[in-house]
């Protein structure tokens, strides 16, 4: 499957407009074929402790970014819904913001699999979590979700 920059803009616009993206404060910093990078600045409602993120917003960010990477490889208008999601939390996520970098491992016709690494950024980047996301591809004729 392939896409073009116009569709990637559509993906970015659609994801940016998601209420969950606004509520959590996610921002896109890169979107390319099979790749996505999002950032999440630390906020008080992301944590019990200043400067450290809870696992929950990290988990949400990883799912969000992995699905966005997968959708970039679908035909224009394509969407995806998460089927399964596994995350490993490797160390405390302490920093001013998080960076999630997702890459598609396999763009299948029915399912797409993406890997996501999440880094906590202080003076340097620290890999704090890694996730695998499997999503069901929804082509325009059967589309029900923008992303999930």
């Amino acid at each position: 499957m392939s896409t073009d920059s116009g569709f990637r803009h559509d993906v970015a616009d659609a994801v940016f407009q998601l209420p969950v993206a606004t509520a959590f404060g996610f921002t896109f910093h890169q979107l390319a074929d099979g790749h996505a990078e999002t950032h999440l600045p630390w906020r008080a409602d992301h944590s019990h402790i200043p400067g450290a993120f809870q696992a929950s917003p990290i988990a949400t960010l990883a799912d969000f970014t992995g699905v966005a990477a997968g959708v970039t490889l679908l035909p224009a208008g394509g969407t995806a819904a998460t089927v399964d999601y596994t995350a490993k939390f490797l160390t405390e996520a302490r920093g001013a913001h998080l960076i999630a970098r997702a890459r598609v491992l396999r763009p299948g016709s029915t399912l797409t699999v993406a890997a996501v690494d999440v880094y906590a950024v202080a003076d340097t980047e620290t890999l704090c979590a890694t996730a695998l996301v499997t999503m069901r591809n929804l082509v325009p004729s059967s589309a029900v979700n923008i992303t999930s």
């Binding site: 409602d45 929950s56 988990a59 949400t60 998460t82 399964d84 995350a87």
Partner: protein, 147 residues
């Protein structure tokens, strides 16, 4: 007119405010718990939780599952035990929409000296939305930031 089960903001009888409030839950909640079992929680899906078509975003439910499993394991652990999430594994057999009342039920499988093992399921009506398992690491209180 919407049936009572789908009225925005409606909380079914038997549910009360979640007993572990946090700023993060204020962001994604309000979350409720069953008044006789805090391992059962409820969430009314609204626009903040969904994609542009009104379907519940998987990442939101993952976050709620993490919170529920962490607190359920914590309640089964010895006093002063701190837990941080080590692993989350989730499957999504179904979907929910704006207005749905979603309930989750967590169980603690084992709390050891170093690790705690939990699982949960989320439903709306009779539909299974999510199954999940979580492994939590026991840490000192100063580092227990995730649960």
């Amino acid at each position: 007119m919407s049936p009572p089960s789908r009225i925005p903001g409606h909380v079914p009888d038997g549910f009360v405010a979640y007993s572990h409030p946090s700023r993060y839950l204020e962001l994604i909640g309000p979350l409720y718990e069953q008044d006789d079992d805090p391992a059962v929680v409820g969430l009314r899906i609204d626009e903040r939780h969904t994609n542009a078509r009104g379907f519940l975003h998987a990442g939101v439910l993952v976050a709620v599952a993490d919170v529920l499993m962490g607190h359920t394991a914590h309640s089964a652990a010895p006093p002063d035990t701190g837990l941080v999430t080590a692993t989350l594994t989730t499957d999504f057999p179904g979907s929910a929409q704006v207005g749905d009342w979603v309930t989750g039920h967590a169980t603690t499988r084992r709390v050891g000296r170093r690790l705690a093992f939990t699982a949960c399921e989320f439903h709306t009506d009779d539909r299974l939305l999510l199954t999940a398992s979580g492994v939590f690491a026991v840490v000192t209180a100063a580092r227990s930031t995730n649960s």
